[in-house]
């Protein structure tokens, strides 16, 4: 039973990583705390709800294609937001960035209500994806395995980009020292735009996956942004690998917590978040 719970927690963790990866990437490079990350996730979910009947409905290929398409659509929204608005406040007060992303949250939520109403919507899973791989008395749902695969793919892709490409070198430079990039003769604004777009894309596909997994409504944004913050903060703001471990940890704490302390699992996770924050600061000042 413990093994089943831990495994289940890890699978949930990979999905949490998918949710949080974009947020931590954006913060790492441009120091923007993107409150609208949950809203982009929600958009991904509703776009997928809208689009999936049009692309080879009912087949896994069509299903994954529609998630990908919707990820790209969300990326376009993110790109537009960055290009027309966020770009203007990189040099302004940090709080101005908060104002803008908060404004995006309010606007996207009301637009979602306007277009899709208040009722829950769900995306029916293609039959080929709704089964499970059964090992002994352990059930590994096909769809969750697919989500884990995508999470791992994203991780590997990000790792490869960061490690081997020129863009990755620039990104790492930007994370460590924003001024450096400018010295390298690279337009910092382009780097920020690219990263924001990729981050929005990741939020979008995570939302797309969620649409077929859970029930989706316009209140999704707030819940997701808090989850993403937890993961990103525990992992160390801006750290991709930190976010991975934090996500896996949060997933396992939740799945074991509901056995041993069924009513306290969220409190435990937030306590963990508080302790990590304080511990990091003490270590910093101690150094």
């Amino acid at each position: 039973m413990l093994i089943v719970q831990i495994l289940q927690g890890l699978m949930e963790g990979v999905f949490l990583f998918l949710i949080a990866s974009g947020l931590t990437l954006i913060f790492g490079v441009s120091r923007i705390v993107n409150f609208a990350h949950g809203s982009f996730y929600m958009l991904g979910a509703f776009f997928t709800y809208q689009v999936h009947p049009w692309i080879a409905a009912g087949t896994p290929g069509g299903f994954f294609t529609s998630i990908l398409v919707c990820g790209v659509l969300v990326a376009v929204v993110g790109l537009a937001f960055e290009f027309f608005f966020l770009r203007r406040v990189y040099h302004a007060e940090e709080l101005m960035q908060l104002v803008l992303t908060l404004a995006a949250v309010l606007i996207i939520r009301d637009l979602t209500k306007f277009f899709w109403g208040l009722d829950d919507v769900t995306v029916a899973l293609p039959d080929d994806l709704s089964g499970a791989v059964i090992i002994g008395d352990m059930f590994l749902p096909t769809y969750q395995l697919a989500m884990v695969t995508v999470g791992v793919l994203v991780l590997v892709a990000l790792w490869a980009v960061l490690k081997f490409t020129r863009a990755g070198i620039v990104l790492r430079a930007a994370t460590d020292d924003r001024g450096m990039v400018a010295l390298l003769g690279i337009n910092q604004a382009h780097v920020f735009t690219a990263v924001f777009t990729v981050g929005s894309f990741l939020a979008g596909i995570a939302g797309g996956f969620a649409a077929a997994f859970e029930s989706v409504n316009y209140l999704l944004d707030a819940r997701v942004i808090v989850l993403a913050f937890i993961v990103v903060v525990i992992g160390g703001l801006g750290s991709l690998y930190g976010a991975l471990f934090a996500a896996l940890g949060v997933g396992v704490v939740k799945s074991l917590g509901l056995l041993w302390a069924p009513r306290l699992s969220m409190v435990i996770i937030f306590l963990l978040m508080a302790v990590v924050l304080l511990f990091r600061s003490l270590r910093r000042t101690g150094e």
Partner: protein, 404 residues
């Protein structure tokens, strides 16, 4: 500060324009979550109430005049609900209040009805606290409340003979109280039954996979999920891959809007309970109402809250006619001895806690040829007379509440 005054002037102007003089007939204030978390539920209640209003008015109204309803949005927030209620009483001078969605809004409105002695008919919220723990002469419950529902569930589960049970209750008042009452009542009805595990998903939690694996690990006969809306939907969706329905039975709250949003994702064989499933109501009146509702709203079906809303309007109209006035005391007196022919069958109110003996509906889902979504078949109607708590229970709860 200056803006506040301009703000005030704008308001005053609007209020004057909107305000209307009190005439013959009856003025009902509706406070419900038109927007916010309840928005998805209550739109049907409003549509159904408007149909009832139109029917009653075209048949001559009540007390020599038409029924007028003033619609106010609580935004599903207790503070907004309280504010709107107080204004309905002070500015609009409504005779009665109805609506209410979410127990917190009900609990916020309840003391106001008591303070101003304005009758409040709950049509959408099911907390028992408003009529029992903090009950007063002016609040009326027309649907099965939490205690009744918990008992109805125990009745059904005992009848089915399930012994090894895992409960999964949303971690808030409705979930906790229902699980508690269910557990207590089941112990009385079937001493062999045992609760193997209690799980408490957080409200708003939609990844329920680790709850599902934990529940299935106990190899239960039944998972009793006191969940609704997106929680229930997610549970059913995610449970599929684990063969949840092949490995155990599932009993959960399934009001009509769940079927509508899940469509073919609702597998056959889920046990569900509901408060007013239109498809299980067989009287001519119910069929006529559904036909009328669909004709007026693009072929849409009413959800449970639509049925409850329609019923409450006729309960109000009937009681007013018998009382002969809108006087709260006369109204209560009239209500005490009446039976009403509602869409859900014949019902009456008892006076110790102003609660109707409203039935609970429990059945098994099956894809239907008639509707674009599955519905419940083999619906058991568990009458309110079986589930209403006895007087001693009511008094004990009231004493405990008075102590604080």
């Amino acid at each position: 500060m200056k803006k506040a005054i301009r703000n005030g002037a704008v308001f005053a102007a609007t209020a004057l324009l909107l305000g209307s003089a009190h005439a013959a007939g009856v003025k009902i204030g509706y406070v419900g979550g038109i927007s916010g978390a309840c928005g998805g539920l209550t739109h049907s209640a409003r549509k159904a109430m408007e149909i009832a209003q139109e029917e009653i008015n075209s048949a001559g109204g009540v007390l020599g005049g038409p029924i007028e309803i003033i619609w106010r949005d609580s935004k599903t927030k207790p503070d907004e609900g309280a504010k709107q209620t107080r204004d309905l009483i002070l500015s609009e001078e409504v005779d009665l209040l109805t609506g209410v969605c979410s127990s917190s809004v009900f609990m916020a409105i309840n003391p106001i009805a008591k303070q101003y002695e304005v009758p409040l008919f709950s049509a959408i919220s099911g907390t028992h606290k408003a009529t029992i723990d903090f009950g007063h002469p002016f609040v009326v419950q027309t649907q099965p409340h939490t205690l009744m529902e918990g008992k109805a569930l125990a009745e059904y589960v005992a009848r089915k003979g399930w012994n090894n049970i895992v409960t999964m209750g949303l971690d808030y008042e409705w979930g906790r109280t229902t699980v508690k009452v269910f557990t207590e009542e089941l112990a009385k009805l079937n001493p062999d039954a045992k609760i193997a595990r209690q799980l408490w998903p957080r409200i708003g939690e939609t990844n329920l996979t680790s709850y599902i694996t934990a529940a299935l690990a106990d190899k239960p006969d039944l998972i009793m999920a006191v969940m609704f809306g997106s929680g229930t939907n997610s549970l059913i969706k995610q449970g599929k891959a684990y063969g949840l329905l092949q490995r155990t039975e599932l009993l959960t709250f399934l009001s009509t809007e769940s079927y509508m949003s899940l469509g073919k994702d609702v597998p056959d064989g889920v046990h569900g309970w509901a408060r007013g499933p239109f498809y299980a109501l067989t009287t001519d009146a119910a069929k006529a109402f559904v036909a009328k509702y669909r004709a007026a709203h693009d072929g849409e079906y009413p959800n449970d809250w639509g049925i409850l809303g329609y019923d409450v309007m006729y309960i109000i109209a009937g009681a007013l006619e018998k009382a002969g006035s809108t006087d709260p005391a006369a109204l209560r007196e009239a209500l005490g001895g009446m039976t009403f022919d509602t869409l859900r069958g014949e019902m009456g109110m008892r006076t110790i806690d102003n609660t109707f003996n409203a039935p609970s509906f429990i059945g098994v889902t099956k894809m239907s040829d008639e509707y674009p979504f599955p519905v419940m078949t083999d619906v058991n109607v568990i009458p309110g007379d079986v589930t209403l708590p006895d007087e001693a229970t009511v008094n004990a709860l009231r004493e405990a509440a008075a102590k604080g």
